[in-house]
């Protein structure tokens, strides 16, 4: 209990003391997570809609693969990205391993299937009825697509927030491809892991509490949006 209590005190001290290292780590964590979620959203929502509205051979297999990738273990994603980006790998010439870019790529691999899968499920549920409604009211193809996205807005927001939750809390993949290099690729989760290894439990707890606080703020914003839309 002492460790948790001291961790809480340390967290408050770190936040208000303006600890430069902590701010840098929090900033990089947010940057990597937000960037990867934005890219994953741009990729995942159209792909989820396409998957939900198009019929093609092998769709069943593809959906199963996406469902599997939704629970892809981060270390596997990290390892795969590392092997592709390593010097002897297919994209080794880009020399991206142990950079922020590699961390973003690894997180995109983890987050995109979540957004595709959740969007696909919403489309499956809503597309037919919304499309028919649009047709009976005289909406063209693009207008029906816009209508579908409008009708899924709360679900899409939930999918994006779920992706963000996965990204911000992820440690295995960013550790493998980023290497937790101080001042370069160190993010909150990898820092917590290192602090724990060094026995600095109070500071690890403090960083963990900041991570939780960020997560709380993001989810509170989602809750506010959902409440506003359903009131």
């Amino acid at each position: 209990m002492d460790t948790i209590g001291h961790g809480f005190e340390e967290a408050i001290r770190l936040i208000f003391a303006g600890d430069a290292e902590i701010f840098e780590i929090v900033g990089l964590s947010l940057y990597v997570s937000i960037f990867s979620v934005v890219v994953s959203t741009i990729l995942g929502i159209p792909l989820g809609i396409l998957l939900g509205t198009c019929r093609f051979r092998g769709k069943g297999i593809l959906v199963r693969i996406i469902y599997t990738l939704m629970s892809l273990p981060p270390v596997i994603a990290g390892l795969a990205v590392f092997l592709i980006l390593m010097r002897r790998g297919p994209l080794g010439s880009l020399q991206l391993n142990y950079t922020v870019a590699a961390m973003i790529i690894a997180q995109i691999c983890l987050v995109t299937p979540i957004i595709i899968g959740l969007t696909y499920n919403m489309v499956k549920e809503k597309a037919l009825v919304v499309n028919q409604l649009g047709m009976t009211l005289g909406a063209g193809r693009i207008q029906r697509l816009r209508l579908l996205i409008y009708e899924m807005r709360v679900g899409i927001t939930t999918a994006v927030i779920s992706g963000f939750g996965r990204a911000i809390s992820e440690v295995g993949a960013v550790m493998i491809v980023g290497g937790n290099i101080k001042g370069k690729t160190r993010v909150m989760t990898t820092y917590i892991s290192e602090l724990k290894g060094m026995g600095n439990f109070e500071r690890a707890m403090a960083v963990g509490l900041i991570l939780l606080l960020i997560s709380f703020v993001v989810n509170a914003a989602l809750y506010h949006f959902q409440e506003r839309e359903s009131r």
């Binding site: 009825v129 919304v130 028919q132 409604l133 047709m135 009976t136 009211l137 005289g138 909406a139 207008q143 209508l147 409008y150 009708e151 709360v154 839309e229 359903s230 009131r231």
Partner: protein, 234 residues
């Protein structure tokens, strides 16, 4: 809008559900589609709405083969309202057609008043009862002055008071705007009250058509007679 169909056929999984040699809906008429479940009424309505294509045959709307989507609408038995306010639901088809804000606001208010829904203008759609939902769906369908209004059991599962309100409004607006209306109903009294024409379908075929007075009061076909008398055994 005058609607003519020729040699319409539609099958699902190899089962022929609609087989109409020829027929039509006269412009400005209100036609009741009656018949037992599985007669092909909804399939015909969906084909007329352009939601489905027939396997064979053609439909002409005022002499043209292509369905004029901007002038046709269909209200489902269980209508889907957009997850927004009543006002926005009614306004949506008019926004699609590029009407001005003032025109939209005027038409929304007019329809809300006609349906006794003025107090619900800012209400979110998911807070409405079944009857209110159906009224809003109807107002939305009528908002853009369609020429062909298709209704799939619009008052099924709705209380008699709301049913009467909906019927009153339907009659008033379809008469005032000369809207060609096709209504699927199992309520023969409603068919008599609302419609001047009746088309009786049975196993995908039209077994009798005529004025509602003729078909419902003095059916010439034995199947229609049994159906009207509640004696039809499927």
């Amino acid at each position: 809008m005058d609607v003519r169909f020729t040699d319409l056929k539609k099958s699902y999984d190899g089962r022929l559900v609609l087989d109409l040699p020829d027929g039509g809906i006269r412009s400005g008429s209100r036609t009741a589609l009656i018949g037992p479940n599985g007669a092909g009424k909804s399939t015909l309505l969906r084909i007329l709405a352009g939601l489905e294509s027939p396997d064979h045959g053609t439909v002409h709307y005022d002499g043209k083969q292509e369905a004029p989507r901007q002038d046709i609408t269909l209200v489902f038995q269980k209508p889907y309202l957009l997850s927004t306010t009543v006002e926005n639901n009614i306004a949506y088809p008019m926004k699609l057609r590029g009407l001005s804000k003032a025109q939209i606001a005027e038409r929304v208010d007019e329809l809300l008043e006609e349906l006794g829904l003025t107090a619900f203008k800012k209400q979110k759609s998911w807070k409405l009862s079944g009857g209110e939902t159906q009224k809003v769906a109807l107002a939305r369908a009528l908002s853009f002055h369609p020429k062909l209004l298709l209704l799939d059991e619009p008052t099924a599962n709705i209380d008699p008071y709301t049913t009467a309100e909906i019927e009153r409004m339907l009659l008033a607006i379809s008469r005032k705007e000369s809207i060609t209306t096709v209504i699927i109903t199992h309520n023969l009294a409603q068919a008599k009250r609302l419609c001047d024409q009746v088309l009786m379908l049975h196993k995908g075929k039209a077994v009798e058509a005529g004025t509602s007075q003729e078909v419902l009061a003095r059916p010439q076909n034995e199947i229609t007679r049994q159906f009207v008398a509640g004696e039809l055994i499927l």
